[in-house]
Symmetry: C2
Subunit: 176 residues, 2 copies
Amino acid sequence: MAYHHGDLRRAIMDTALEAVAEHGPVALSLRDVARRAEVSHAAPTHHFRDKTGLLTAIATEGWTLLGNALDLHRGSFAELGVAYVLFATGHPADFAVMRAPGLVRGGDADLVEAQQRAGDMLQEGARRHSEGDPTTALAGWAMVHGLSTLLVDGMVAPEPGSDVESLARSVTGRLG
Amino acid sequence: MAYHHGDLRRAIMDTALEAVAEHGPVALSLRDVARRAEVSHAAPTHHFRDKTGLLTAIATEGWTLLGNALDLHRGSFAELGVAYVLFATGHPADFAVMRAPGLVRGGDADLVEAQQRAGDMLQEGARRHSEGDPTTALAGWAMVHGLSTLLVDGMVAPEPGSDVESLARSVTGRLG
DNA sequence: TGTACATCAGTGAACGCGCGTTCACTGATGTAC
DNA sequence: TGTACATCAGTGAACGCGCGTTCACTGATGTAC
């Protein structure tokens, strides 16, 4: 085993995401991640300090990616909703860690900033769409969030021959 | 400690639900449940065989309760949705176990039956509301499910002075 | 009413395991001169 | 170009812990006669 891996930090985050996709964030084990990355079990500590540090880094990256995705679709709330659903289904493990309360260093500055950026975009889009009616905005958020979790949890799947994007588009089209 | 507890089975399920409410179903520990119930750590085995057995029993009870709640509101889809949201927020730990895949004896006959009953009611209500349009039915389900998870995860809360029921009612009213 | 006995419900010690974290270490790399 | 040295990145042994499960056991209950 080489002493200098190249980009172990990246490799550990990627294998952690694989593990999360399989067993969920609560069951994540540092030693398992190290095994998957083919590295000694103490190596991750060097990059993330501890388990919470690893999960915090993943959550921060997830919110940043979501922010980036939303940023490309600020024009219409329907498109914002589609982007939300596509992010969740495209990054189910990130999505799971982002929603895992208590596993993450809540006060972490980078995490808070990334969360805020994505949250602001969502709120702004919802407000513009609903012309200030908070119920309509909440209904829209609930719908895209609900569709995301149903898809991620495997309780709903697109028809064969169709895909997540067009499913999301037709569902958000059903909004008042 | 009395050798005959009275209704230890019930007590263990209740304390397990408390533990799930605090730390989620994946982190549930049999020994912790026994400690909370003030009983030796081997006692739960006697009633549930093993950890999976306990979670399966909880999930089965959850689906049964949801089925009962939906049964009272078969008339309108809006009311069905409200009942769904009220069940989720009223029984957040059950709701979490019911959505926890892999922690439960999937093939368990009682569990499958309870799931099917609740699922059929939901589908029937959605179909009647949407007059056969599957997209509208999915949009409705996604909305009530999404609102439920947002409330349960604490990402949304009713305005002070309002409550979950009227929030759910106004959101479901926003459906095409 | 009394007693023997089967069954039920819970105890507590023991097992082996995987975990997170700490620690002294060692090999690889890059920089100063 | 060569060499000394600081720093970086990963190793592997060790720790103490909580876990799920098993086991022989014991006390409580209910039933047959």
